[in-house]
Symmetry: C2
Subunit: 310 residues, 2 copies
């Protein structure tokens, strides 16, 4: 084993993957207990793309040639800088789109139909039959606007159609093969929807794109669902709008800082919050790990990787 | 107004409907403050079908000719007895099937994907990134078995297909026009599914039909969702099975007793509970009230009602 390639597993969250790397014949360096002596030998990093890898750190790994993200997103990795410095970057393509879309729908229904709130009502003994005639909106006929129509956005759109919701979307590039109408701008999409689902890939171009103006356009009867990255939403503006009743509801799996501090949300009404669990299931994780391992194998064999970051 | 027909609004939960009855030109007797002197004049009852109307009470209303349920279900009304005693019974047909199916899906995803639990984890400061690689199942490819394929069951089936789940169903009567496969028995359905969704109409024939044996057939990795009535499930057996790990999860909008006592669920793991809110939204309630009012109007005019109970 001493001559086997050394692969860096970047984050303790990925500890369950160590077994797969070892089984594939690699030596593993653990990022959370990395020794300086290991750095010279590291050939590839198996990574979760939302965690930041700084150029300074990457420059300290002279043999590094690949960052294989297990995740679909890779907002923590500066891809142009990596490519300029001879480091390939790969990610998961479609490996967990269904799971993320499922969670988006769970968040959407859970917040819109007061499922999460209802669970608290029952457990706290506050069930009052008179409330059952209360003014809760349904989903049929409501307009969903999807920001980002990649694998995940399309999977969300298909699901929303089964609920008889009206689908439109926005992304920076037109997609001629897509039947769902594309809004001219993100602000137009937000203005003309009841529920805005953020499903885009996060990068520097869309940091804070769901701005105060976009949030207010969704409005007091509207809802924002985020399964992309916290960076895409101006989270401060979101919180202010929820407190002021200028945004109706929000259902979030991702946050500006993760884990998000609970006190940040203690007095923010009408929210459903999950701990960035949309993408990881017993079905998707093995697929995504296998994709990353295949990219590592191909890179070490000097062959083209299968799912390069774009 | 003194000669206008007197309509009994049976339950305080229905208080918001009083305005619609008054606007339609009727006098209204409130069931929750009923005076004996009003009984002789009552022509029809506008009712929520899960509340029990006893033959003794109905016999005390000599001019009663109609029970118009605003709800789809009418398990609190003995229809054969009513018909024998000259009282027609109507209910809502399809008026809130989409809303109930939406809530069923919110419960299903909310429990299966730990959305409700995740919200507690975030708020209680228990978010641990290592848990994100934990063994949570996805939905794609999982088998859903639907008990009762009426308006609501079909609406659930259509939604589940958009999540790439495999649909089968059971009901007492074959439905030759339905493509989804019908299990031979409820026990077979429970044995061969990951998630059992109870969406049937509740009546004396299916009281406790989701028995200890059916619950154990769904099993430790399975889940039961109930948007029908609490009476269909042996709730004691359900609680025992959840505590023993013999049933994986349960997501319930309806209960043996409503409101269900919170202490009953305090030490029962892996549940999501909502306060019987599946059917009532700003979209469905006006439709269902309009259907009941139309039945009242037709009955008083001596014409056939549109949606008789069967």
């Amino acid at each position: 084993m001493s001559n086997a390639p050394l692969i860096l597993l970047s984050h303790s969250m990925l500890a369950p993957v160590e077994f797969a790397l070892t089984a594939a014949g690699y030596r593993v360096a653990r990022g959370w207990e990395l020794e300086d002596g290991q750095k010279a030998e590291i050939r590839a990093i198996v990574h979760a793309g939302e965690f930041v890898l700084t150029p300074d750190f990457l420059k300290s790994l002279p043999q590094l040639g690949l960052i294989a993200n297990i995740s679909a997103g890779y907002d923590g990795v500066n891809v142009p800088w990596c490519r300029e410095n001879g480091i390939e970057v790969t990610h998961s393509q479609g490996g967990n789109a269904d799971d993320v879309a499922d969670q988006a729908m769970g968040l959407l229904i859970g917040a819109w139909r007061d499922i999460v709130k209802g669970d608290r009502v029952v457990r706290e003994g506050r069930w009052n039959n008179a409330d059952r005639m209360g003014p809760r909106p349904g989903l049929s006929g409501r307009k969903v606007g999807i920001m980002g129509l990649g694998h995940i956005g399309k999977a969300v759109a298909r699901r929303c159609e089964a609920f008889d919701m009206k689908v439109s979307w926005w992304g920076p590039n037109p997609k001629p093969d897509i039947a769902w109408p594309r809004a001219e701008t993100l602000l137009d999409l937000a203005t003309d929807c009841d529920i805005l689902v953020v499903a885009c890939r996060a990068d520097v171009s869309n940091r804070g794109a769901v701005s105060e103006a976009v949030i207010k356009a969704v409005g007091p009867r509207g809802m924002i669902v985020n399964v992309s990255r916290g960076s895409v939403i101006d989270e401060e503006a979101l919180i202010v709008a929820l407190k002021a009743g200028e945004l109706g509801r929000a259902a979030l799996d991702v946050f500006a800082q993760e884990p998000t501090p609970p006190e940040r949300w203690a007095d923010v009404p009408n929210t459903v919050l999950t701990p960035h669990t949309a993408g990881g299931t017993v079905d998707s994780i093995p697929r995504m790990v296998a994709q990353a391992l295949e990219n590592v194998r191909l890179f070490l064999a000097g062959e083209p990787v299968i799912t390069p970051a774009t």
